[in-house]
Symmetry: C2
Subunit: 330 residues, 2 copies
DNA sequence: GCAGACTTGGAAACCGCTTTCCGGGGAGGT
DNA sequence: ACCTCCCCGGAAAGCGGTTTCCAAGTCTGC
C-alpha cells in the first residue's frame, strides 16, 4: 500500500508538505511543490488511509444508520433520504439492519460509537420495553458524551433529536375520513402491541371512532409485515372497513381477501398507512396516509448534524389519501 | 472520550495487558488482572477506537457495498443478502448508492479503498462504456493491489469474482415458455441500450424467438424503472405478448395498460424478470424469471472474502415462473 | 538598505491501539 | 536443590496520518 511517506519521498518534500497538499489544510503550499506532490501521488496511485486520518483528526466522515429491514420499502425510503442528504455533505454511510431485534440496535450503537462515526440515525419504531429503552438510552448517552450526534425517526423516547410522524393524528384523520364515507363497523389489523408506532396508529384510529360516537373497532394483533396482515385479515369478524396499521400489512390483507373471493372495496374497504411508493400500482389502489419518508430521513440527518444543543422533536403530519380500496358501504 | 490508557491506569495495569483483555488477543491474561481490567472498562464505559485498531492492525472489519438505488427492491434484496452474510462474519457494512451514475461508482471504490475496507461489492448492471469500464477496473486494481478484495454482482466485465445471473438464458427460456403458449408477436420493453443487463435479457429473448423461427420482437428502449416501463408500453404496436426486462418495468407497463382499459392477460400478456418479492401480491400476478437475489448477494460476499486467487465467475440460473399475467392468445 | 510582518517548508509530537521483545517467577523434571 | 521451560506482565516501537512549533525566506514600508 502506498503511504504518504512514499509520496513525500518521491516528490522530495516533507511529510507535512505532502499532507497539506493532498488532504486539505488551511495552509498554503507553493505551486512548484504542490505540483510535484500531486504528480507523485498520481504516479504512485496514493489513497489516503482514512483510519489514520480519523485517528489523527479525531473525527471521521462517516455516519451510521440503523434500520430494521432494508427490504421493507418503508425503511428503504427513509434510508435513501438520509443517504442522499449524507452524500451532499460528503459523508459516507454505514448501514446496520437489526431485523427488529432491539438488542441488535443497542449493539449497533456501541459498534458505531467504536467507529467514532459523526452521527447515528436510529430509524424505526421504538418498542415499549422500559428495560430495552433504558439500555439504548445509556448506550446513546455514552456515545454522545464522547461528542457523537444522534437522531431518531420514530418516537421521542430516547432524548435525542427526533423526527416523529404524527401517527395518532394521521390515523385519527383517516378514521374520520372513512367514517365520513359511512362506515361504522371497523377492524384494525394492529400489529404487535409493543411496537409503539403500531400502537399509536391503532390508538389514534380507535380514539377518533370513539370521539365520533362509533363502536370500538375489532383489534387484531399480529406481525407488522405482509404475512401479519394476511393472517390478521382472516380473523376479521364483521367489519365493513379494515385499517391495517401499515401499507405492507394492508397488501397482505388484500391478498387474503382476494384468495377468499371477498371483493375490495365492494364487500369490504381496506386502508393502510405510509403510502409506500413501490405499491402505488397495486390493484385496488390503496387508501392510506402519506408520509414524506425521504424527507423525513433527510431531515433526521440534518437534525443530527445540527449544532443545536436543545433536543428538537419535529412532528411530521401525514396526509390522508383516499383511493379505490375504500368506498361507502352498501 | 475514554481511552485504553484510562482503563489501564484505573485498573493499575499496562496498556498491553488492557489491550489483551479487551480487544481479543492470542495471549492469555491472568484471572485477577483480567477481572480488574474488565471492571475498569465497564465503570469507565470504554469503547475501543476502531480507527486506531484498524491502523494498528492494518485491517478493518468493514466491507463496502455499492448499489445503484436502495429503494429499488432488486438492490434492496441483493444488499440485504450481502448484509446478512456480513453480519454472520462479524463485519460492518458501508453502503453507497450511485443512483446509476458510473462516475459515482468509481468514486466510491476510491473512497472505500481509502477506508481500507476488507472487501467491496459492486452490485448492479455494468454499462457498455469502455472508458468507464476501464477506469473502474483501474480503480479496482489499485484497491486490490493494496490487498483489497472485490466481487461483483452482474456481468463479468471487471476481472473480479462475479455472481452473474444468467440473463440471456433466463430470457430465452421465458421466450420459449411464452411461445409455447402460442404467442408469436412479441414486444420487448428493453430498457437502456447501454445497460448490459437489459441488453442481455433483450438479446436472449430475441435470440430464442429467432431460433424458434418466430418474427423478431418490437424492441422499445427507455429507462430501466417503473416509469420507463409505463412509457414504453404505450409504444407497443401489435404484440400479443410483452416482455419487460425487469419486474418494476413490467409493473409500469401493467399500470399503463390498466389506464388505457387494455386487459391483462385477456388482451395482452405481460412478463417481467427478477421476481421481486414486494410485488408478489400484484394483480394480475406477474409472470417472471425468478432470481435468488438474497443468495446472490450473500454469495458475492463469500466470493469476495474467499481466499481463492483465481477469478471465479458464478452463473446463477433463473427460473421461469408462469403466473396469471400471461395466457395463450385468443 | 533594514526592521518587522508574512509566507512557506520541515522536524517532531501526538492520535489510540497492537504486538514484538524482554524479563521475572513458578512449575516440573532429575 | 538446580536448571529448563513456560506463562504472563510491561516497555516500547510502530501503524499513517495531522498539526504545532520553528526557522528561513520573502515582502513591505520608510
Amino acid at each position: 500500500m502506498v503511504t504518504l511517506e512514499d509520496v513525500a519521498r518521491q516528490a522530495g518534500v516533507s511529510l507535512a508538505t505532502a499532507s497539506r497538499v493532498l488532504n486539505g489544510s488551511t495552509r498554503q503550499v507553493g505551486a512548484t511543490l504542490r505540483a510535484r506532490v500531486e504528480q507523485a501521488a498520481d504516479e504512485l496511485g496514493y489513497r489516503a488511509n482514512v483510519a489514520a486520518q480519523t485517528l489523527a483528526r479525531g473525527a471521521s466522515n462517516v455516519i451510521g444508520i440503523v434500520v430494521h429491514d432494508l427490504t421493507d420499502p418503508y425503511f428503504a425510503a427513509l434510508a435513501d433520504g438520509a443517504m442522499r442528504a449524507a452524500a451532499t455533505e460528503g459523508l459516507l454511510v454505514m448501514v446496520g439492519t437489526t431485523h427488529r431485534d432491539p438488542e441488535q440496535e443497542i449493539a449497533y450503537v456501541a459498534t458505531l460509537n467504536a467507529q467514532r462515526v459523526r452521527a447515528v440515525l436510529l430509524v424505526g419504531s421504538r418498542v415499549a420495553d422500559p428495560d430495552v429503552t433504558r439500555r439504548l438510552r445509556e448506550e446513546l448517552a455514552r456515545y454522545q458524551s464522547g461528542g457523537g450526534r444522534a437522531a431518531c425517526v420514530g418516537q421521542d423516547l430516547l432524548g435525542v433529536d427526533t423526527v416523529a410522524p404524527a401517527n395518532k393524528e394521521g390515523a385519527a384523520e383517516l378514521a374520520r375520513a372513512l367514517a365520513g364515507l359511512g362506515h361504522t363497523r371497523f377492524a384494525v389489523l394492529a400489529g404487535p402491541p409493543h411496537l409503539v408506532t403500531a400502537a399509536d396508529r391503532c390508538a389514534g384510529f380507535a380514539g377518533a371512532l370513539e370521539e365520533m360516537g362509533l363502536p370500538a373497532p375489532q383489534v387484531i394483533h399480529g406481525p407488522f409485515d405482509r404475512d401479519g396482515g394476511h393472517a390478521a385479515a382472516r380473523e376479521v369478524k364483521d367489519a365493513t372497513c379494515v385499517f391495517a396499521v401499515n401499507d405492507v400489512m394492508a397488501v397482505g390483507a388484500l391478498a387474503a381477501y382476494r384468495e377468499r373471493g371477498v371483493r375490495v372495496p365492494e364487500d369490504v374497504s381496506v386502508a393502510g398507512f405510509d403510502d409506500i411508493v413501490t405499491l402505488r400500482d397495486h390493484v385496488p389502489a390503496l387508501t392510506t396516509v402519506r408520509l414524506p419518508l425521504k424527507d423525513m430521513g433527510a431531515r433526521a440527518l440534518e437534525l443530527a448534524l445540527g449544532e443545536e444543543d436543545a433536543v428538537v422533536v419535529e412532528q411530521v403530519a401525514g396526509e390522508v389519501v383516499l383511493r379505490e380500496s375504500v368506498r361507502r358501504p352498501v
